[in-house]
Amino acid sequence: MHRSGNLHATLRPPVRHLPKAGLASPRARPWGTVDVVSTDQLRLRAPRHRVSRKSITLWTLHAVIGWAVLLVPQLVVLLFSRTPWQIGVAVATLAVGTAHTVVMPRWRYRVHRWEATPDAVYTLAGWLNQEWRIAPVSRIQTVDTKRGPLQQVLGLSTVTVTTASAAGPVLIEGLDHDDAVRLADELTTTTQATPGDAT
């Protein structure tokens, strides 16, 4: 087996400190910005826990409902009049809707993850567009669990962690209800133990 790549890796001293942004030879630009040569390869690791597998069902149901709202009126219209245009649009809706309903829930399930450490809540959500959210426990104001009708049927819950920011809460969707309640209790306890008014 050819091992030169791994050999290279073992010879390289482990890097323990993050490079400071902006140390690499700045070059002034006429509009007041400075070039930075990027050398580091930092990235966010995935949060530790996946959400419940039942979330796939939930997201599938959401997608089916959403597309049905678009498709059913079209079908009703088609009963009375059929132009090539209307048929074309209906078929396109059906095709896109089916693809979305099949792909999105599975993709989301592979992406959605969460983690709560004693210091922070860390989530990753989305599918095509993804977003990581980090809220330090010391800045948490409220922790709620919430279940919509579909979630109740499936035994799922959403945990909502709000901070003083107006930019919206950190959401963990699709947890098993018991897990959600346990997480909310834990977070509430640690939050209460932290002094300050979280702003």
């Binding site: 790549g5 791994n6 290279h8 890796a9 390289r12 482990p14 890097v15 323990r16 993050l18 490079p19 400071k20 942004a21 902006g22 700045p26 002034a28 630009r29 509009w31 007041g32 910005t33 400075v34 070039d35 930075v36 990027s38 580091d40 390869q41 930092l42 990235r43 966010l44 690791r45 949060p47 983690e115 450490t117 210091d119 922070a120 860390y122 989305g126 095509l128 567009n129 993804q130 977003e131 990581w132 959210r133 980090i134 809220a135 330090p136 800045r139 104001q141 409220t142 709000t162 901070t163 003083a164 920011s165 107006a166 930019a167 919206g168 950190v170 008014d197 979280a198 702003t199």
Partner: protein, 506 residues
């Protein structure tokens, strides 16, 4: 014996009794509301040729307004205890508002024209609790101006317990005042055009309503103008609009910002006073100041001007209460930022790190592609000249994209995270690093392919989140990690050419 000692500083005893609003509000509130309805009354009475129902309707409206004012005055009480500010109001729906005094971040005094005639001010106490939008804080409308001033000092002093140390009377320091030369920035704001639009709408509306003879001469003029060659029509029209807009904007500027003064008060608050007719005084506890934002709308930027806002908790987002500096030279904006943040030079004028070339590509695509798509659609559905016009806009879109890229930048100073973005409105924000209460790192499908992310620092102040747009993934994460040490670190990993190394958990 004690006569030799200087008089003890007056200690303002917290009010514990219930107080009513000032009795003069019985006149002022109806007056303010009737003033706003003057054109309607003119329409109803003067031009109504004395029809009975019009007179009855007018009298009815005035009586209703007066009664409503009376009801409000009778039912509203407030008191300030050692712990909180309380207000009870309403007859059918009783509302009891209580704001803990330690939560008070800002005090905002507003006096409309009617208030000022009678020496009154409305007080708004801001807390920055965002749990119930719209329920943020509490408003006393209104108390006498001296009472308002006393309450302002009282409320903000206890809001900052450290400075209760009996005041050795420091004078308030003036940081900036209105300069007549700033008026030249007025036409560069769009307020003039807005004013022209509003004026036009109002005139048309009332002219028709009141059957005035404004329309006749105007129509004649319009006919004459349209009869001229096209170029003359256009240039005449543009000229008239520009002249009126110019004057209008200067007028708006003077009315809004006349008497502008920015001071630092002895109780460590930053205070902005402004307004020619409606005076406004906004005080922000310096402790609650999380940064400064410098905004340069395109036109203003072309004239090297800018205006500035505070980034602070407890100010409503509507009504420009966070204004720090009206449109003024950009140099002044940076100077004021430096003064307010007590940091020379201002972090907002720090040279910024440029974003990677991939960000330029992204800005370009996002600026140009919609225009191309639009012209494609127009070519399909609309007359030929529309898509040609749309296509002619492509170079401008490209310029816009390039300028948006040029605006992108970020840097980390000792105490501030500085980020800049935008072209039509270029925003430079300096956000206190200790004011960052979380992160959002978002990556769209296309950003992922270009190795870019958008880093958003969430905060309790201002807009709630400030963005570093389209930064290289590694640089952005390093920036976030350095801004708030230890928050992001446990979730970061380093990707070498062959090895993945996770940072050791502390």
């Amino acid at each position: 014996m004690t006569a030799d000692l200087p008089a003890a500083p007056e200690f303002s005893e917290p009010v514990v009794d219930w107080h009513r609003l000032d009795v003069r509000m019985l006149i002022v509130r109806p007056l303010n509301e009737v003033l706003g309805l003057v054109p309607v009354f003119i329409g109803l009475l003067v031009l109504g040729k004395g029809e009975t129902w019009r007179i009855l309707l007018s009298v009815g409206m005035i009586v209703a307004i007066v009664l409503f004012g009376l009801l409000r005055w009778v039912t509203t009480r407030y008191r300030i205890t050692a712990e909180q500010v309380e207000m009870h109001t309403g007859l059918f729906v009783r509302k009891r508002l209580a704001v803990p005094r330690e939560r008070i971040r800002t005090v905002d005094l507003t006096a409309k024209l009617g208030h000022r005639l009678f020496g009154l001010s409305a007080i708004r106490v801001g807390t920055g609790q965002r749990d119930q939008p719209g329920e943020d804080g509490l408003t006393l409308d209104a108390v006498s101006s001296t009472e308002a001033e006393r309450l302002r000092v009282l409320l903000l002093t206890l809001a900052v317990p450290e400075s209760v140390e009996p005041a050795e009377e420091r004078p308030s320091v003036v940081l900036s005042t209105l300069d007549k030369r700033w008026l030249r920035y007025a036409p560069l704001t769009l307020s003039g055009l807005v004013a022209v639009g509003a004026l036009f709408g109002l005139t048309m509306n009332y002219a028709r309503e009141l059957e005035l003879e404004v329309l006749g001469p105007l129509t004649d003029a319009a006919h004459w103008v349209v009869a001229q060659p096209l170029w003359l029509t256009l240039s005449l029209f543009a000229g008239v609009v520009l002249v009126i807009a110019g004057f209008g904007s200067v007028l708006v500027y003077i009315v809004q910002f006349g008497g502008y003064q920015l001071t630092r008060e002895p109780d460590d608050t930053v205070r902005v006073r402004r307004g020619l007719l409606t005076t406004r005084s906004v005080s922000v506890a310096e402790q609650r100041l999380r940064g400064v934002e410098v905004e340069e709308p395109l036109l203003l930027r072309a004239g090297r001007g800018a205006h500035a806002k505070t980034v602070t908790t407890g100010l409503g987002r509507k009504g420009e209460s966070n204004l720090l500096l009206p449109p003024a030279p950009i140099v002044e904006a940076h100077r004021v930022s430096a003064e307010v943040l007590r940091l020379e030079p201002s972090p907002t004028s720090t040279p910024l790190h440029r974003h990677p070339v991939a960000a330029l590509r992204r800005r370009m695509v996002r600026a140009v592609v919609p225009v191309l798509v639009l012209s494609g659609v127009l070519a399909w559905f609309a007359p030929a000249w529309t898509w040609q016009v749309a296509l002619a806009l492509v170079p401008f879109a490209a310029l816009l994209g390039w300028d948006r890229y040029r605006s992108l930048g970020h840097v980390l100073t000792d105490r501030y995270l500085v980020a800049r973005q935008g072209s039509v409105v270029r925003e430079t924000v300096a956000l206190q690093r200790t004011g960052v209460i979380g992160w959002r790192i978002s990556r769209s499908f296309f950003q992922r392919r270009s190795g870019l992310v958008t880093i958003s620092a969430t905060t309790a102040a201002g807009d709630g989140a400030y963005h570093v747009v389209d930064v290289a993934e590694g640089d952005g994460l390093a920036l976030a990690d350095e801004t708030v040490p230890e928050l992001l670190r446990p979730f970061l990993e380093r990707v070498g050419s062959n090895a993945v190394e996770t940072y050791p958990q502390p």
